[in-house]
């Protein structure tokens, strides 16, 4: 159930739990004293306005901004004894010292083993040296939790909420095909001891990372490969990726980027175990010359590198757009794989399966799940969104103690003016538009027999967006259109068809989702409403991709929407 991560053990600077002297924040009750200011006119008290003062919890030492100022003013660090540290209970946010075995026995009074007291002249070692001594798991402060409380509280709703949390589950329904494809790709390379590269693309929330994590956990691959998983957002700059890989391989870390790179290349030349390198959010590595990406994608073609490289990102055309030189040589060309947005049925399957695993399948009734899935699938096909919304539904149901989710109620738990999508989680009454939406969606993605083999099908709202765009380009006079103008036309098109209209902010995100397919180019990201939209594809090509001739021609011949 947990995600993959390379656990780096850390050395822990041990602290006696009975330290009396400590260099730290000077605790100070902040009180504004206006008494003298009113009576005397000599402004003796310098009143420093603070940005904000959150209530300081009585237990924790206050970390308010005022203290920061104080510590800045007093150059000398002030000795003081912490109240908290005098107790033997492990309640400080300091990690308690688990002796290398990371056993979380956290009974009352289990004090961490003591080390030498820290002298006053303690000069803290820098983390670089601390990180260098990797021999301990780094664990966030453990907390004693009474299990009894847990058991009492675990209701049906709570287990349902837990099941619907977006943490990765053991099996991924709706992604079987992709999984087999991935397995084939990797095991084929494994048999021949050859190298290869793969680029996985798809909108966010379509299960890319989850699928790869699952693959990486499988025992046959785990044994045969040295697996390295890196999320590129956690890296400061593109060049730092080398250092990270070197570190994960357990080689000696060099100072410069170049040295690290040569270290890696030496390693790839030498005799070594097969290496499976997974780079998540690989588009974070783009630089002006793209040298980093080119270097990484060229490694598999080297002699005896035995490296299988998998890159994950959102944009479908990343390799064509920013790595054109890869196309020149056949052996460099990465295999492409696209994760399409989830269809309604897949979303329904996922939700019901999760609920069944937790034995609470009666919490949500079928119609509710269907409706929810239809809504999400029509807009983005993002499973995270679907799970979040279903969790919200359960919360609201729990608040009302109603197991039947679909009951008209006026207390929607939150006023979601910004997203009409959610207002219909619990339909107030059978509104006309709603029935129509469900009907249209069922005709477009009609459940199981319609799960088609077309990868490139657009969700309904994205189709409408593209049709509105084509209508403007064909019939309109103004060729220089912005997202705001496009939204106006789109609203009219939807109104004509009685289809639920997504609001502006959702529309902007729809545009950016279509952009990742390479159909549009949006220029000027500063003000989302004013950014210009350019169509990159050919009109016929787009018509072929939309696959819904009747609706398209209807919209395109309807100039009254302009």
């Amino acid at each position: 159930m947990s995600t993959i991560q390379a656990t780096i053990p850390f050395n822990i600077r041990k602290k006696s739990s009975k330290t009396t002297s400590f260099y730290g924040i000077k605790e100070k009750a902040v009180t504004e004293d206006f008494s003298n200011a009113a009576l005397r006119q000599i402004p003796e008290l310098k009143y420093t306005p603070r940005v904000k003062k959150i209530v300081t919890l009585t237990s924790s030492d206050s970390d308010s901004d005022a203290d920061v100022e104080n510590s800045a003013i007093t150059k000398r660090s002030v000795k003081y004894s912490r109240k908290r540290n005098t107790t033997d209970k492990v309640s400080t946010p300091k990690k308690n010292n688990t002796d290398g075995k990371s056993d979380h026995s956290c009974g009352n009074g289990a004090t961490p083993p003591k080390q030498k007291k820290i002298e006053e002249s303690f000069s803290p070692s820098t983390p670089s040296s601390m990180l260098g001594l990797l021999d301990l798991e780094c664990v966030v402060e453990d907390v004693e939790k009474t299990q009894a409380k847990r058991l009492l509280k675990s209701s049906k709703f709570q287990s349902a909420r837990k099941a619907l949390h977006s943490s990765v589950s053991a099996n991924l329904p709706g992604r079987e095909k992709e999984l087999t494809e991935l397995r084939e790709f990797i095991s084929h390379r494994l048999k021949n001891f050859s190298s290869g590269s793969l680029y996985v693309s798809g909108p966010p929330g379509t299960g890319k990372t989850a699928s790869l994590s699952k693959i990486m956990l499988e025992p046959e691959f785990k044994a045969a490969f040295k697996v390295i998983y890196i999320n590129c957002t956690a890296i400061k700059s593109a060049g730092a990726i080398y250092a990270k890989i070197v570190e994960d391989l357990g080689l000696n870390l060099a100072k410069t980027e170049k040295a690290n790179r040569s270290t890696l290349e030496k390693y790839l030349k030498s005799k070594h175990q097969m290496l499976l390198l997974v780079l998540d959010e690989i588009d974070q590595l783009t630089t002006r010359s793209q040298s980093v990406l080119y270097t990484i994608f060229e490694w598999p073609s080297k002699e005896g590198s035995k490296l299988v490289l998998v890159g994950i990102a959102n944009a479908l055309d990343l390799t064509d757009r920013i790595l054109p030189r890869l196309q020149a040589r056949c052996e460099l060309r990465p295999k492409l794989m696209h994760f399409a947005p989830y269809s309604k049925q897949q979303i329904v399957n996922i939700i019901t399966e999760r609920l069944e695993e937790a034995n609470v399948s009666d919490v949500l009734n079928k119609v509710a799940v269907q409706m929810l899935a239809a809504k999400v699938a029509a807009i983005s096909g993002d499973i995270r969104k679907a799970l979040d919304i279903s969790r919200r539904v359960i919360e609201i149901a729990e608040a009302q103690r109603v197991a039947q989710v679909l009951q008209p109620c006026n207390d929607n738990g939150s006023n979601i003016a910004g997203s009409p999508r959610k207002q219909q989680e619990i339909p107030q009454e059978k509104s006309v538009g709603l029935k129509e939406v469900v009907m249209v969606l069922n005709s477009v993605y009609g459940g199981a027999q319609n799960i088609n083999n077309e990868e490139s099908i657009f969700p309904l709202q994205q189709k409408l967006l593209l049709c509105s765009l084509m209508l403007i380009l064909n019939k309109g006079k103004n060729k220089d259109l912005t997202i705001g103008m496009l939204h106006e036309v789109y609203k009219k098109v939807c109104k004509k068809r009685n289809i639920h209209i997504v609001d502006m902010s959702e529309f902007v995100s729809l545009c950016s989702l279509v952009e990742t397919r390479g159909v549009l180019r949006i220029v000027g990201k500063k003000e989302p409403r004013l950014s210009k939209v350019h169509l990159l594809w050919d009109q016929e090509e787009l018509g072929g991709a939309l696959q819904d001739k009747t609706m398209m021609s209807e919209i395109l011949n309807d100039a009254s929407c302009l």
């Binding site: 990690k95 803290p124 957002t233 969104k385 979040d388």
Partner: protein, 452 residues
Amino acid sequence: MSKKQNMAIDFHDNMILLTRKYLKRKIMCPETKFRHHVKERVHILDLLKRTVENGESNSALLIGPRGCGKTTLINSVLKELSSLKSFKDEALVVNLHGLVHTDDRLALKDTTRQMQLENAVGDKVFGTFAENLSFLLECLKSGDKTQSKPVIFILDEFDLFCAHRNQTLLYNLFDVAQSAQAPICVLGITCRLDVIELLEKRVKSRFSHRQIFLFPGDTSGSDQPTSAFDDRLKLFQHLLSLPDDENVNETDQQYEDCKMNPQFGARWNEYIKSLTENMTMVNFLKRMYQLDVSERSFRNFLALVISSLSEKHPKLEVNDFVEANKFFHQDDKVLTLQGLSVLELCLIIAMKHQTEIYDDEPLNFEMVLNRYVKFANQNSSIQTVQRPVIMKAFEHIKNLELIQPVGGPNTRVEKEHQLYKFSLGWQQIADAVKNYPELPTEVSQWAVSSLQ
């Protein structure tokens, strides 16, 4: 005003000073009592409670216009939670502010400091950005639902965090909240209604789409449904009242040095209550409320009124409120004009005529000079002055930014020919001319006639 209020309250000198001190503190210091938005408050309370007690991870955005009590709401929720034992012992609160932590490096350093991780010693944090980030993520990822402390991140001015490079911090925080790692709760506070559009799609997908909107004038929290204005009246009464017999013991610690005489407090409160029934006062407050509904500006206004209390002036009259309100609605441009010399005012009038006749075309020094000289030659009483002196006056007007240069100040044009746009309204000039002390009559006549 009825006769009843004129009863002789023995206004003790010291009492009045104490009153002033007490009320000022009450008005200016943010309380952690929150009055409205009960539904929203319960929503946030539930979120935080679930994070702390069940180890669920959540993220939410609190959105509302400035001064509608977003931070107050969070503070009151935290105050309520801090009385729970489980929260006190287990939860860590990390406050980040978009104006202070202007990039991810600073935000990360402060997070490390507030979580008191191993690479923080006192309030110094060691290591580079990348090291800190990997360390923090390592800490959060190695935790799990049952055994780690829940961490609550409160991001004030959330929209400024969206401007950071690649939104690295937001991506990582939301990612931890989405996966089965240490339980964290990310609360964003912002006043931009379209903040969701600023998020990158990968960040947006990881955010749980809970947007909680706060709008002022929502009185769902009171016992009986009242109109928004009645609520304002209640607030008025509450802010100006002193502790009396009933609630003399309820005063907080922060007011300890203002020990009030309960009899005096009771009389004072009665007087304030009579103010809220006074028709002129109510109408005045209504007018104010129509202009500005935010509570913060109302508090500032009351603080100004309270400042006028003194030994010589021991009572709040309706007139005090009206006077204080004038401070808030003064036209500062008119005041600026009244502080100019006669020559400068003449130039302003010349500019006004120029823009009136030529329909908002930009003007330069030569045109204004031409117009002024014509006027000065016709009226013997106006002294003709040298051109450099007039130039000086013109530059003074420019420095006050009553005229704005067109096309940037650094274009290579001589001073006399640099084009300017005139940025005053006719009414403002008319007011200034009317109120200018000892203005020659010719000038005021010239200001009215525009055909010169």
